[in-house]
């Protein structure tokens, strides 16, 4: 932990990310969701007829499906779906040049440091503001190699066949209520295609920002890594601190073809008035590798269980996650691995920290289908409880239908031990420094996997959350 990170104690979410900007929007749908809302947004986007049909069918499914009765039913029931703006179009079009982005929006992303980050270490950037991608760029050489990194709406315009072929195949609208909702009103998100044997060595980044109160953001991301290729995609999320709630409900579909590798990193730091109900799923074919690196810091309630379906021999899935729940937050996160082919392997590592009245839950699935021989899977969940009111839950499910599988699951729950604190304090650290050091150590398996800038940022964010929690 550097002095620099220590010095930043005292800043908080409100000044850092919690500001909001005036709304000079091209279009803002009324509150609530009707068939007309969906038709209007589809028309405004000039979408092909099949997409409108897809949306309307999904809308029907959304209305038919009951609210989930598992997870945090109480919080889910408190979402007022009629009070939400389902489609907000901040500007006329998506820009490739930062200077062409409308001034207000540019200010927002400037404050969040997005173009700066791009210059420093990213191969491509998408910035989504409300429902639409407002800025998008990709480095010239990647484009020359045939790498496609577009907003999902642009993807649909430029590659309608590919989108039609794959969209909703990994996560169909009837998968769950929120996937249906997203399928009906999706807007924005990223479309990524990496050609055969092409390696995108520096990360592609998407940044999602909600600005309006009672906004619903429903981005849709589809990443296809063709045979033998590799890509690392990073997303970050923030929103202003309002007194009433917003909803973020994304669908992310990843397809790793034979020998491909996809890493998908998320640092979710929504303000504490956002419901974050996301469906993320990947399929991995022969010898492919999919890694979800998933950090959950913000939001009021997050329900998110990144999944990997291992479809062909040799595929490998990895899910590495941390959750930090502060007062009144519930991070209900987890991982799902389905071994549908022989000799597939998976590793799940989950770390959670609950502070104050925060609640962290791990909810997971490991399934081995019959005939999937020689499967190996290991799941480890560790939970740290900082205060007497903190809560943690672990709900793993293991369904094993093949007797050659080797499956292990272990979980532990504890508080920061007095011995560890005492030892560090005897070495001259203050109690809060000692606590921070122990927590950094606890989440180190996660931060180690992040690009450096993100690791620094994450430590700083946790430090902010930790402020005033001891001594």
């Amino acid at each position: 932990m550097s002095n620099q990170t220590l010095e930043s104690i005292g800043q908080d979410y409100d000044t850092q990310f919690g500001f909001h900007d005036p709304e000079n929007y091209v279009f803002k749908s009324g509150r609530g969701l009707t068939r007309e809302t969906v038709e209007a947004m589809s028309a405004m986007k000039k979408e092909p007829a099949w997409m409108l049909e897809f949306r309307l069918k999904a809308l029907e499914i959304y209305h038919q499906k009951p609210m989930p009765r598992w997870g945090d039913s109480k919080m889910l029931d408190s979402i007022d779906f009629d009070n939400i703006h389902y489609y907000v179009r901040p500007s006329e079009r998506e820009e490739k040049n930062w200077d062409d982005v409308p001034q207000d929006i540019r200010n927002t992303f400037d404050k969040l440091g997005i173009p700066e980050a791009e210059r420093k270490f990213l191969a491509g950037v998408t910035a989504q503001y409300e429902s639409e991608v407002v800025y998008h760029s990709i480095s010239k050489d990647l484009e020359a190699q045939g790498v496609r990194f577009l907003s999902m709406d642009d993807g649909l315009r430029q590659f309608p066949e590919i989108v039609r072929q794959y969209l909703g195949t990994i996560i169909p609208p009837h998968d769950n209520k929120f996937a249906a909702l997203n399928s009906a009103v999706w807007s924005g998100g990223s479309f990524v295609y990496v050609p055969k044997n092409t390696h995108v060595n520096i990360p592609l980044q998407a940044y999602f920002r909600i600005n309006t109160e009672n906004m619903g953001q429903f981005e849709r991301t589809l990443i296809i890594a063709d045979e033998g290729s590799s890509v690392h995609y990073v997303e970050g999320c923030t929103a202003p601190t309002y007194s009433s709630d917003s909803l973020h409900s994304a669908v992310v579909e990843l397809i790793a073809l034979a020998g491909a590798k996809i890493r998908y990193t998320t640092i979710q730091n929504w303000s504490k008035n956002v419901y974050n109900l996301v469906t993320k799923r990947a399929v991995a074919y022969r010898n492919a590798r999919v890694e979800w690196v998933d950090g959950n810091l913000g939001s009021k309630l997050t329900m998110k269980y990144p999944a990997v379906y291992l479809m062909e021999p040799g595929a490998h899935g990895e899910i590495l996650s941390i959750a930090f729940s502060g007062d009144d937050q519930h991070q209900d996160a987890g991982a799902k691995i389905v071994h549908a082919a022989p000799n597939t392997t998976s590793v799940v590592t989950s770390k959670s920290i609950s502070k104050g009245t925060g609640r962290s839950s791990y909810r997971g699935l490991v399934r081995v289908e019959k005939g999937a021989t020689g499967v190996k899977s290991s799941v480890v969940c560790d939970a740290l409880l900082l205060n007497p009111e903190s809560r943690t839950d672990t709900y793993p499910t293991m369904e094993i239908h093949d007797s050659t599988a080797n499956i292990g699951h272990e979980a532990s729950v504890s508080k920061v031990s007095d011995e560890q604190l005492y030892y560090l304090r005897s070495r001259g650290l203050s109690e809060s420094q000692a606590m921070m050091m122990i927590i950094n150590g606890f989440i180190e398996p996660f931060t180690r996997e992040l690009p450096l800038e993100y690791a620094v940022e994450l430590n700083r964010l946790i430090q902010l959350e930790m402020e005033g929690s001891v001594g």
């Binding site: 009765r69 598992w70 945090d72 039913s73 609950s354 019959k370 939970a383 409880l385 900082l386 205060n387 007497p388 009111e389 903190s390 809560r391 943690t392 839950d393 672990t394 709900y395 793993p396 499910t397 293991m398 369904e399 094993i400 239908h401 093949d402 007797s403 050659t404 599988a405 080797n406 499956i407 292990g408 699951h409 272990e410 979980a411 532990s412 729950v413 504890s414 508080k415």
Partner: protein, 421 residues
């Protein structure tokens, strides 16, 4: 009463039957009320975690059987300790009406079990049904500071004709008492009649009392078994509970230990060996509602043929349960291509100064171990037998009687090799 499928009985028939048994008016009423309550309580929803994998409602041998004649196969047990009450429940109702009333009525009747994942337990209908229909069982009462040194060994034998039985066991240990109790459930040899057992066992362990309870279930392969066990521990009380599940076609066993006061401590063990088409489904609840309490659980299953094992278990620590330790471990040995195992070990922790962990493993016999033993001259099947025996041995030694240990060892070998050793 004894020809109608039990599920189609009505409150009036149950009243008449209860009166004919010479039961007190409060019990006649309680049975009828419970039956009506059951009718209004839904069957466990598929979404209830504890009932997701075993649906008794679809099984004809569960729904369609009449109640078995109660003269047959009443559980039997004796003790040489004159201070201890050890009698059948109907007899205890006559001889000790006030005492039995306390443990059988009101809040001590078959209560709902703890909620899991924020949902109600889901099996309330079965508890109400049992309150209405229990037809046999034992009442064991160990007074203050009495140590029962010779184990009480209760035996329940399945009826020879098709039928359903509803045994209820109530065990009370007053403060400072101790008891070793064996509950053996078995069928006549080569019995192939349709049979269901819906058992309910309530154990009250008062301050500083110790119980060592073992259930050894080896029904015939046609039996359907639903069992509820609840152990309530007071201050410094201790329970060791072992469940051996060998028989039955569909077995659903729910075990809850409630730690109600500081110093309470429990050790829960489970041994399951499924073969043929057996489905063995255990649900456990380690409920901690007081500080300084400890629980420790180890359930092991070996599976062959098309057998299926399901283990769902919850450790729940309430906000007051500080300085607690709770552990849960489930291990599954998969011995055939067609067997399957499901494990859902769960933690809900609302206190922070605690140590909790759980683990679950599933896998075939370790190839290295197998190889080692075959290099020593053992055949593959001998080696496998030795490894499975070793897998279970630590649980078998928990059983309090040598004869019982031998019986379980022999049953394990029999299941593995198909011949009686």
């Amino acid at each position: 009463m004894m020809t109608t499928p039990w599920t189609q009985l009505d409150a009036k028939t149950i009243r008449d039957w209860s009166s004919a048994r010479g039961e007190p008016a409060w019990l006649v009423d309680q049975r009828a009320t419970a039956w009506n309550a059951a009718a209004h309580t839904p069957v466990p929803p598929r979404t209830a975690e504890a009932w997701k994998y075993t649906n008794l409602e679809k099984i004809a041998a569960w729904n369609q059987l009449p109640m078995a004649a109660s003269a047959e196969t009443t559980p039997a047990a004796t003790t040489d300790n004159a201070q201890v009450i050890c009698t059948d429940l109907a007899g205890a109702l006559r001889e000790h009406p006030q005492l039995v009333l306390h443990y059988l009525s009101g809040e001590n009747s078959a209560r709902d079990f703890s909620a899991i994942t924020g949902q109600p337990y889901g099996g309330a209908r079965y508890l109400r049904q049992h309150d209405a229909l229990w037809d046999r069982g034992l009442f064991i009462f160990v007074p203050r500071n009495v140590q029962v040194t010779t184990p009480i060994h209760a035996k329940t034998v399945a009826p020879r004709t098709a039928g359903a039985i509803f045994p209820r066991t109530i065990i009370v240990l007053e403060s400072g008492a101790s008891l070793t109790y064996i509950d053996e459930l078995r069928s006549h040899e080569n019995s192939a009649t349709d049979f269901s057992c819906h058992a309910h066992c309530e154990i009250f362990v008062q301050d500083n009392a110790h119980i060592h309870y073992s259930q050894v279930q080896h029904w015939s392969s046609t039996a359907i078994h639903l069992g509820h066990q609840r152990i309530t521990l007071a201050r410094d009380a201790r329970a060791t509970v072992t469940n051996i599940s060998l028989g039955g076609r569909t077995v659903k066993q729910i075990t809850e230990v409630v730690h109600t006061a500081p110093g309470a401590e429990s050790h829960l063990f489970g041994l399951n060996f499924g073969d043929a088409q057996q489905q063995i489904d255990h649900h456990t609840l380690q409920t901690h509602i007081a500080p300084n309490t400890t629980s420790n659980l180890l359930y092991k299953s070996a599976l062959k043929d098309h057998a299926r094992s399901i283990y769902t278990g919850l450790i729940h620590l309430s906000p007051v349960a500080q300085q607690c330790g709770a552990y849960q471990s489930n291990r599954n040995l998969l011995l055939s291509d067609d067997c399957s195992a499901t494990a859902i070990p769960q933690l809900e922790i609302e206190a922070n100064d605690v140590k909790c962990s759980h683990g679950a493993t599933m896998g075939p016999v370790d190839a290295d171990q197998l190889y080692y033993l075959t290099t020593r001259g053992l055949s593959k099947s001998q080696a496998e037998q030795m490894i499975v025996a070793g897998f279970f041995e630590d649980l078998i030694t928990q059983l309090p009687a040598e004869s019982l240990q031998e019986m379980v060892r022999a049953a394990v070998v029999h299941k593995l090799t198909g011949v009686l050793s």
